[in-house]
């Protein structure tokens, strides 16, 4: 009756749990490499600008397609194409902020209004990409290589580079947040925008830099998604809710949480694919998100205690 059960992989005894763990480790890390940086970027954007940008998924798409344009049309090596794409996507982000969101933020509209507006912005980006490239899938022009076993891992050389870039960039962003002037400004603006304004911080400048970083990270994420799978106009939109799941798991305004959340979500997704049912891979990310929202809305690193009482005492008032 249930097809989900039929597709559920059964690991025979000689195969053993070890090989399944090996799959989980390799696939989980690859999925992590595609999720971590966009999730970190989205986290920074939300941390500083204080609203949920639903266009972010489509900015990821734009990043992938800009790299594709460089890689296919101008025959530029994928590494350099990635750098150019980061710059162009960052420009796009700043442009969107200045043209659409800046005026609304100055008019002091609520975070929800900005969210609805970003929905419209995302719709526009997605369909502009669709008009430009059409609905068919694309691939980067990179040499095709076979994966090799390296200890417990099973990767192609490109994939190893991707995972290393991902980890290094994430560490770079953490160091930047902690030790540079810009990082301090971002944290200050996030904690108390009006106080920062009084102290003479140009909030607008901080917003601009935040968008540059967030969209740059989105571009890296988009290119990585394209390297692993294919590039198509709906790719970012499909990834958006998964990115939010990563953020909510780690705590929405916590950059470390965003990366750890991406790690947990990636492994939860791949574990579901290996042991439960591949089509429910994405659902496992959503369910993880609801579970965290239910017991600890501030994420696994949040300060509040786990609220088990909501399982039973939900009819009690909030107050």
């Amino acid at each position: 009756m249930n097809r989900g059960r039929k597709t559920r992989p059964r690991h025979s005894s000689q195969d053993g749990v070890y090989f399944a763990m090996e799959d989980l480790l390799s696939y989980g890390l690859l999925t992590f490499a595609t999720l971590a940086l966009p999730s970190l970027g989205l986290c920074l954007a939300i941390k500083v600008t204080k609203y949920f940008n639903l266009a972010y998924g489509d900015i990821v798409t734009a990043g992938a397609f800009l790299a594709l344009l460089m890689n296919l049309s101008f025959k530029i090596n994928i590494g350099i194409a990635l750098l150019i794409s980061i710059a162009l996507t960052a420009l796009l982000g700043v442009f969107l902020h200045k043209v659409v969101f800046k005026a609304l933020m100055e008019a002091k509209v609520g975070p929800l209004t900005l969210l609805v507006v970003s929905l419209g912005v995302g719709l526009v980006i997605r369909n502009v990409v669709l008009i430009g490239w059409g609905p068919q899938p694309y691939q980067f022009n990179t040499p095709l290589t076979r994966a090799k076993h390296l200890g417990p891992f099973f990767f192609t050389p490109n994939q190893i580079v991707m995972i290393l870039i991902c980890i290094l960039v994430a560490i770079g962003i953490f160091l930047m947040l902690r030790y540079t002037q810009l990082g301090r400004l971002m944290r200050a603006t996030s904690d108390n925008p009006s106080l920062s304004l009084i102290r003479g911080i140009s909030i607008e400048k901080v917003y601009t830099y935040t968008w540059i970083i967030a969209c740059g990270l989105a571009a890296i994420g988009g290119v990585f998604m394209g390297m692993l799978g294919t590039i198509k106009p709906g790719m970012g939109e499909e990834a958006l809710v998964t990115l939010f799941a990563c953020l909510i798991v780690g705590g929405i305004e916590n950059p470390y949480g965003a990366v750890v959340g991406a790690l947990i979500t990636a492994f939860a997704m791949e574990a579901t694919a290996i042991w439960i049912s591949p089509p429910y891979k994405v659902v496992s990310a959503y369910l993880l998100m609801f579970f965290i929202l239910l017991i600890k809305p501030s994420g696994i690193f949040g300060r509040e205690k786990i609220q088990w009482k909501y399982f039973l005492g939900f009819l009690r008032s909030r107050q």
């Binding site: 097809r3 039929k6 597709t7 992989p9 025979s12 195969d15 799959d23 390799s26 696939y27 690859l30 999925t31 595609t34 609905p135 068919q136 899938p137 694309y138 691939q139 095709l144 290589t145 076979r146 994966a147 099973f154 192609t156 998604m225 692993l228 799978g229 294919t230 198509k232 709906g234 790719m235 499909e238 990834a239 791949e270 694919a273 290996i274 591949p278 089509p279 891979k281 994405v282």
Partner: protein
């Protein structure tokens, strides 16, 4: 504000229906024929492929005023289904009610069932050039084979061809096969056909896997697929997913011969090559002979593309059959056309191979049997024909991404089809 919005509504209303007037008020009473295809959405490639075939047919029918069916030209009214049922219903409604078409050519498996009730209500004839789903094989209450016909064969035929190719044309004799299909209706239809056909030829299926489309990674599914070492994998997905599957299949270093359906097409090949080098697709295709070569050349002038686009021959045959039925019926009344279709499409009658031949024979008072480009178009009692199949291989050596490697004829796969239908009839009885 209220006034303003009312005025706005009126303006838009006038603009919209003004267009309708302009659209419908030209020419001297052409015969109106609807073309309902997915020009957008997931199956946009189907609409794009079939459209030039229908255009070519109309061009040939209208070429000589002396040979116009019932002395009137044919005019196509096109609507987009967006591969979704709501727009498909709205589109079909517009065709039947506003454009007053005498029948519809289309749509695809994704939406055909939403349109059937409307067609029945309109008492019209619907010929789908693309809906291969096996669920149309037996659709209910005598509707099928009465209102709904196809110029494309049921997926039972295509899957029989896929399995036949695996058993007879590969350099080795496979002993273990697997299915790897998406969780969509079309793919499940393919999977069902492959499973039954494999039973008929005695090819054991060691693994059957279904998966969701458009995922970033299929590594877990692929690993599972190859656990028992199948030599042949019957698969169907969509182009975007194919690209991911084949790239990861290559990276993981697995072996095996992939055999696909009509979804193993040029769009898919372009996205997934070079990883998909050597992957085979068995799907409806025209014969290679002088007649079809000339036809393909004419088609290329319209489509601007090389070769026969997917389903173009089926759409072409559907429109030609409409025109011949109209001539046979002697009017463009919906029911009359419907009743005339079988008498021009299947034996007995002189075999005719072009529209001009057919209409001349009809006017000479002869019975005709139209032999189409896509197949002989002799409908069974469910309104289904058995069309020709072709086999193609994905390769970087051909600029289009696919190279034709052979043809599958109806008589070669007849035994498998009969076996599958027998299994299905038995299963239905057992329930």
């Amino acid at each position: 504000m209220k006034k303003l919005s009312i005025i706005a509504i009126l303006v838009i209303f006038c603009a919209v229906f003004g267009f309708a007037k302009v659209n419908t008020a030209n020419a001297v009473q052409p015969i109106r024929l609807g073309l309902l295809l997915p020009y957008t959405g997931a199956w946009a490639w189907v609409g794009a492929g079939a459209d030039p075939g229908a255009e070519l047919a109309v061009q040939e029918i209208n070429a000589d005023p002396a040979l116009w069916p019932i002395h009137r030209p044919i005019k196509l009214y096109k609507e987009d289904t967006e591969t979704k049922s709501a727009p498909a219903i709205a589109g079909a409604r517009k065709l039947y009610d506003v454009d007053k078409v005498c029948g519809i050519v289309g749509p695809t498996s994704a939406t055909v069932r939403s349109i059937i009730p409307l067609t029945k209500e309109a008492g019209a004839l619907e010929i789908s050039p693309t809906a291969g789903t096996t669920k149309l094989d037996v659709i209910g209450g005598g509707i099928n084979g009465e209102y709904i016909f196809r110029t494309v064969s049921s997926d039972v035929v295509m899957t029989a061809g896929m399995v036949w190719w695996a058993m007879n044309k590969l350099p080795f004799k496979p002993t273990k096969a697997a299915t790897f299909t998406a969780d969509t209706e079309g793919s499940r239809s393919i999977k069902g056909g492959v499973v039954d056909a494999c039973k008929v030829v005695g090819l054991p299926l060691v693994t059957q896997i279904e998966f969701a489309l458009n995922q970033p990674s299929y590594r877990a599914e692929l690993k599972e697929l190859f656990k028992k070492g199948p030599q042949v994998i019957f698969w169907e997905a969509n182009p975007a997913t194919d690209a991911t599957i084949f790239k990861q299949w290559y990276q993981m270093g697995y072996d095996g011969q992939w055999i696909g359906s009509d979804f193993a097409n040029r769009t898919s090949a372009k996205g997934s090559l070079p990883a998909s080098e050597g992957v085979i697709g068995v799907n409806p295709g025209v014969l290679v002979n002088e007649r079809t070569n000339a036809w393909v050349e004419r088609l290329n002038k319209i489509s601007g593309k090389k070769g026969a686009t997917p389903f173009s021959a089926n759409a072409y045959d559907a429109v030609i059959l409409f025109a011949l039925s109209i001539e046979k019926a002697g009017s463009d009344s919906r029911t009359a056309i419907r009743d005339a279709l079988r008498s021009v499409a299947q034996p007995p009658g002189v075999k005719v191979y072009t529209y001009a031949e057919g209409i001349k024979a009809l006017r000479a008072g002869k019975d005709i049997n139209y032999e189409g480009i896509a197949g002989t178009q002799d409908f069974n009692k469910y309104g289904d024909p058995i069309t020709y199949l072709k086999a193609e291989v994905m390769t970087t050596k051909d600029p289009s991404g696919m190279k034709r490697i052979g043809t599958v004829l109806p008589e070669q796969i007849k035994d498998i089809i009969d076996g599958v239908l027998a299994i299905r009839a038995k299963r239905a009885k057992a329930q």
